[in-house]
Symmetry: C2
Subunit: 569 residues, 2 copies
Amino acid sequence: MANDRSPAQLHELLRTETPFTAERCSYQPRLCPALAVESSSTRPLPGFDLEVLKVAKEHLPFVSQNTLLQIVPDGDRPQDLHPRRVGIVLSGGPAPGGHNVIAGVFEALRKLHPDSKLIGFLGGPSGIMMKRYTEVTLPMVKEHLNSSGFHMLGTGREKIDTPEKMASCRETCQVLSLSGLVVVGGDDSNTNAAFLAENLRHVGVQVIGIPKTIDGDLQVPGLLPIPFGFHSACLAYATEIANLNADCKSDLKYWHFNRLMGRSASHIVMEVSFQTHPNVVLIGEEIEEKEFTIHNVVRLIADVVVERARQGKNYGTILIPEGILEFIHEINALIIKISYIIAAYNREAAPEESFHKLSFEDQVQLIDNSDIWRDYDSRVFLGLPAILQRGLLLPRDSHGNFQYAQVNTDRILLEMVATYLRKQRAKGIYKGVFRTQNHYFGYEGRGTFPTRFDCDYAYNLGFAAVSLLASGATGYMAAIRNLHQPVSAWQPVGIPLAALMHLEERQGRLQLVIQKQRVDLDSPAFKILAQERARWAAGDCYRFPGPIQFHGAGADNKPITLQLNSYER
Amino acid sequence: MANDRSPAQLHELLRTETPFTAERCSYQPRLCPALAVESSSTRPLPGFDLEVLKVAKEHLPFVSQNTLLQIVPDGDRPQDLHPRRVGIVLSGGPAPGGHNVIAGVFEALRKLHPDSKLIGFLGGPSGIMMKRYTEVTLPMVKEHLNSSGFHMLGTGREKIDTPEKMASCRETCQVLSLSGLVVVGGDDSNTNAAFLAENLRHVGVQVIGIPKTIDGDLQVPGLLPIPFGFHSACLAYATEIANLNADCKSDLKYWHFNRLMGRSASHIVMEVSFQTHPNVVLIGEEIEEKEFTIHNVVRLIADVVVERARQGKNYGTILIPEGILEFIHEINALIIKISYIIAAYNREAAPEESFHKLSFEDQVQLIDNSDIWRDYDSRVFLGLPAILQRGLLLPRDSHGNFQYAQVNTDRILLEMVATYLRKQRAKGIYKGVFRTQNHYFGYEGRGTFPTRFDCDYAYNLGFAAVSLLASGATGYMAAIRNLHQPVSAWQPVGIPLAALMHLEERQGRLQLVIQKQRVDLDSPAFKILAQERARWAAGDCYRFPGPIQFHGAGADNKPITLQLNSYER
């Protein structure tokens, strides 16, 4: 067919496997000393005050008695006499490193007994209830090691929140003769894990949770600095933001408004900021603390645009957390009232006349007529641009909750800043050119290849989970301390899940769930950010972490917020 | 301040330089044999038929006489007796590798004579006219080697298209005593280069163009397979698309509609498709050839969605070239007519009554009243969804041209597919769940770090430009043949710019410009794509090229279309 090319070479160009993916499979994640040894055991870890709420003690009487554990080398512990059968389930959105948790659990089980089996539930928690599973085999593990995604088993979002669902989980575990279950997920999934642990202990099934979420909002000070997947996702976003920085610094032409995934918390925006040094950084938690209105936020951005224009710089990058509206009191108050009004109206209305079948004008009229809608609310609402007004009226989710991530806050802020700048121009204060682009970065980060840090971290978490199972523990979350240090200094622990729970309003009623962690405004990382960003605003201090590297200097990248927060407070 | 951390380490975390950027600077690009030797010269390259249009001969009588040159090692050629003074200018959107062109020119000049000087014009071609420049120094070159962006000199889009502008360029070159000028840019910039060469020859200034554009539409069969920057940008996009593939295959939840930069041509979509194997690939040139209507395009996507839903797969990725509307005859006809109507109306209307001050309804009425608007046009227009109707009425650019890249074709196609699927559902044909996300990938690719391929390629182009200057050539574009082979087999050439020119309608009149290359439907790459994509549509054959790597297996990545097109036709 070809002059100097063979059909074999053509085939090579068109196949799905790449030299890159082949090489990724060959990386052997490093284990910390306590997990690398032949056998380990657990002992109490003193010095932390983990209080359990009274209501958690009532709902989780057994697992509430757990105390904090550290995993330590123990040469004396004999191997298992009998093979174990353990289940694993991936839950919630994909996070880079998920396949390495599976690999860690698999390898650690085989170390306990060569005939131990790992059962992977398919499609998330519903796989447990519906008995959809597969046995995880060595070829599967090898093929997926260090790869992206959750596709070895798939994932899902089912909550195990009724006695019937719990009963079907119990039945599946019994039918499969499982002695353990590892739940990989975020706050909701680890809430599942706590209740499963409580309810399955009578049938001899131990349950361990693994902290996963790219949002970074699953943290326990001093014990769980950051969940796995956060670092890789942040670096994927940072690559893009740095590319935009390079582009706008070259072409001197655009302001880029970038909205970043991360639910309510601004952890991702903070980490990406340290990785890239953008010109404006919005932190939701700070906006709430300072009681900023949306007009304050617009002003905050516009002031930087005006100042840079004065220097002849009509370009820059702005990072916006996707949950920002939740932190702006006046907007959030409107959202809550509108949600209530929509729910109340829809309860009475015929389906064909439901709220979102009405015209925009009728919707506004209906809200305006409500008893809970004050003159002040109207004034705030009418002062917003049309695009945001429409955003606030968007359909709620199936539980009646506002879907913050659905709102184009990047576009809304861009338009409000443009409006404000037109006024400043009329006053002669602003003389620049305001050309813009807006972006949303989210799903790409969930599907990126895990960094070497996340490859190692997730693999250690898998081993830690099995160590906890082997020591008889249940109702714990596996975690690794000292992540800011080299792997050789990492310390695996078991954190009692019950101690992480608090009461939260969900679907209109209080529920016992794992508490999400927002950005701590007293943390070293935030305080340093607050100092640094003035320099980033005025100058062009753009930082280039590079695309995620697996060899060479860039391969040692670690979360910067993690490292900063290791400094004393 | 810290327990185990020092202020020096804190400083390290906060500085702008990263281990990654430091390491990138240290990579020494490889030179092909003809450019690595102590001295080279040029000789005619036979076997290519490069005809020059009559009109080009008239406008460019001197440079039209150029014949194709190859650059060959020549040990006998003596070094320059006197130092040279050469200028360089970056033009158009940034492309990865630009700094390596500068480095190549700089190093090659120093090889000719150690005291030669390189003058960098600032902010694009206007820097020549406005005498804004800087001397390029060794520290500048070292600092920017292998880095992203064009920020060492900045860039711009000024065209040198009047006698006055040409005169000011001539004056600057004389004031600076330049004997040569290197113009780095796309089709328009190389058109500039041709006219500069023609007009500056009397003052002893030779002009050489360098083929740059991430869009990939600057090609000469057998001589210039692809411009520099294309590969890096495509891989940056491919990383993101592959991440979305990993995400949707894990979460089984979303159809991702991705619009990719690339102006009219679909080269980027084609390369990214081979790198990632998405489920639907739209190629503008094919849509034009097959005379597809927009409804055909919608149907083409929807059929894949329906078929995958039948297999239980309610997810996938779709690649859309940003110039797609230009290739859909019926839409493009509307666009041209509407542009004409807007221009005609605006010529008569007072500024406060200009077309885009009117309401949408009045705009439509005005169009409908035009003599050139037929009943057929109305029927087509009214059959389009509102979002596309509004898109077609968007403000034109300063030359009255429609701005294709401003239209959210990803969102438009998504909504049209959703509408079509609702009908298919009503008929019982479609039973899936259609959840979607839409994305635009553009500016990130322009600002990415250059791949090793582009680092080497751009560096060789810089050397080739100086070789052409040293041999006395002017009015040439430097290029490298055999890019699909290892650097050791690359062959530098000089392509006569006049032979690349054709007549094109610009701003309502015919102009002599470098011809852009669209995707060739007879090329091996397109033919193979047409075969492969049926497999990609139904299966999950997602391919992961990885984030751009600089070490290890992934670092040898080259454009796949380049390699496929090296097969015989």
